[in-house]
Symmetry: C2
């Protein structure tokens, strides 16, 4: 288990919060720290020991893969097992991830630890590590992006009048797996014609028609790391109003990407896209934030919103995806993935336009 | 919105718990009650009013689809919106789903409602309705099952030496979408050779070899309802020990299915499979419960475990999936879906063996 070097950065937070241990219940955080795709698992971190708790379906595999931590099989209940570990390690104040622990589990741990152990809500401890990607992570994200880029190039040639949205998703799902992806990283969105005006349309049985905009939002999972790209294609001749909106969205995206460099506040990236769209009169039609961090999760920190004054740092990876949705008519979204470097943004999905 | 008739069954629970309203935060429960595939939404139920709370990405679509409830767009924060609704409806005691509300959200709602509103933990209120499927739900589950059955028939002919596990998953993902599925209902498991000894193997790049067992676990989502089936195939000649274990698992499954009828305790179904496997000396190699309820979620109530003394009722739908996993060697699992009727089990996936 390769947790040690990264965990060192968490211990100062332990000191600040005066906690002896932390219960990690977020699957993404457990996967990040253990290096093993984890389901139905909990991780307990302390300065001396890391304990991976899971049930009988996974213990065999976990023991094989995880090196520097103890794998503990759940006995009668996971909460009794957690309580037993807390007792063995003589914890007094035990941190938990308040955003990823259901109220009922919090309450059961309280009961099982006899209400003596102080449970301390925490958030963002592991996420704080995840926000800056290391070389290995960037490599995996690049691979995930490359597979999605190739899938877009493949599907662009495939689009034609009469095929269904669901069939396009079917071909994409097949393509990405033949090209090394584990799976898509979220339900592939294929939104054709008026369906494109819904940002999260559920891909359906609608058949493509001449002149349709076809919005495709696709991401893949490569060794646990995700990509997320959107393109809006047109079937046949683009009508004038689609073309006009397309160019507005594209220019908004260009402006946001150009604004990316270390030290810039995140809200400035959002503003660069949003102000241009507003100037053209479509600010009410751009109903979501400009982007989101991406890594082990499709949506993770930082969110590229107008409210975040965090400064960009090298190693951050996020999407830039301005859009304009015209209710009942059509929607255009263009989404790329950017890596912040000392010199500015590297567009990881840049080869898609070549 | 077709919530009214089903919600009537919840109101007696409101009375018992002395709550005026319930915050539904489980996506599956919201989808069930609203009839709309829901993400990033909350539902507030009271005797007079049902309110669907979501953000700007979904409000347009929600207003179009949902008839008998108010759609409310999140303003500055979802918790402020929830607090505002509680105030408007003059709630005194407000129930929440303790297993599906993170501690942090519970705490924010407490803060936003000024610590005056009593927050009452509840569980299983909506799940209690979901356990018995109505005719429409059974129809959708049957359709989801039929698509999976056809996918198994298709893939059986496709298996051959040299193809990768991931390629088999690719073909299945494509097939189900061409045949009406929205998506797979969980990561398709293709576990070949020794990989089959891990109950939840992550499908990978291993190529099939002569003599391999090939365990395939596949489910699909059809209009929000799920299926979940497993078959273990063999490439070429089955070796004697595989064949022996296969027959033990098959007989265990037969015994469990035969035991299904209204009034029987759930643990008796588990026992019917487990005791036969134990008699053959493999009880330690059958490391999970015999099955699980299925509907809007792949895993929902009832769990078919040795600890549940609930009595079976007509309209319940669950999997029966005994297995034997021999560490380092191979695993065999056979999983079908059963509907409880007055006359006993109907095997929804029964046509797979014809």
């Amino acid at each position: 288990m390769s947790v040690d070097p990264r965990l060192k950065k968490i211990y100062p937070e332990f000191a600040k919060l005066e906690i002896d241990g932390l219960l990690v219940s977020s699957e993404a955080n457990i996967s990040y720290l253990s290096g093993m795709r984890s389901r139905d698992a909990y991780l307990i971190i302390s300065k001396n020991k890391t304990i991976y708790i899971t049930d009988s379906r996974y213990t065999e595999e976990a023991r094989k893969i995880l090196k520097n931590c103890t794998v503990r099989q759940i006995e009668s209940s996971v909460f009794k097992t957690i309580a037993a570990v807390c007792k063995e390690l003589k914890f007094n104040r035990f941190g938990f991830e308040e955003r990823q622990l259901p109220y009922a589990e919090y309450d059961l741990i309280r009961q099982e630890t006899g209400y003596i152990l102080e449970l301390i809500p925490t958030h963002g401890l592991v996420e704080g590590l995840r926000i800056i990607k290391n070389a290995d992570e960037i490599d995996k994200i690049k691979r995930a992006t490359a597979i999605a880029v190739n899938a877009f190039k493949f599907i662009k040639e495939y689009l034609r009048v009469g095929i269904k949205e669901a069939e396009i998703a079917a071909e994409l799902e097949r393509f990405i797996r033949y090209n090394g992806a584990y799976s898509s990283s979220f339900d592939i969105i294929v939104a054709s014609g008026p369906n494109s005006c819904y940002p999260h349309h559920a891909t359906g049985a609608r058949k493509l028609r001449e002149g349709d905009p076809v919005l495709i939002d696709l991401g893949v999972d490569y060794q646990g790391y995700k990509s997320d790209l959107t393109r809006t294609f047109f079937l046949g001749k683009i009508n004038v109003s689609c073309k006009r909106i397309y160019n507005i969205v594209l220019e908004a995206q260009n402006r946001a990407i150009k604004a990316i460099k270390p030290g810039v506040e995140i809200r400035q990236i959002d503003a660069a896209a949003r102000q241009f769209i507003a100037k053209k009169g479509y600010d009410r039609a751009f109903s979501h934030s400009t982007g989101h961090g991406i890594g082990i999760e499709v949506h993770e920190a930082p969110q590229i919103s107008g409210r975040d004054s965090t400064k960009l740092k090298p190693g951050m990876v996020f999407t830039v995806e301005p859009a304009v949705y015209l209710t009942g008519k059509f929607g255009i979204r263009i989404e790329d993935m950017c890596l912040v470097t000392e010199k500015g943004a590297v567009i990881l999905s840049g080869t898609l336009n070549k």
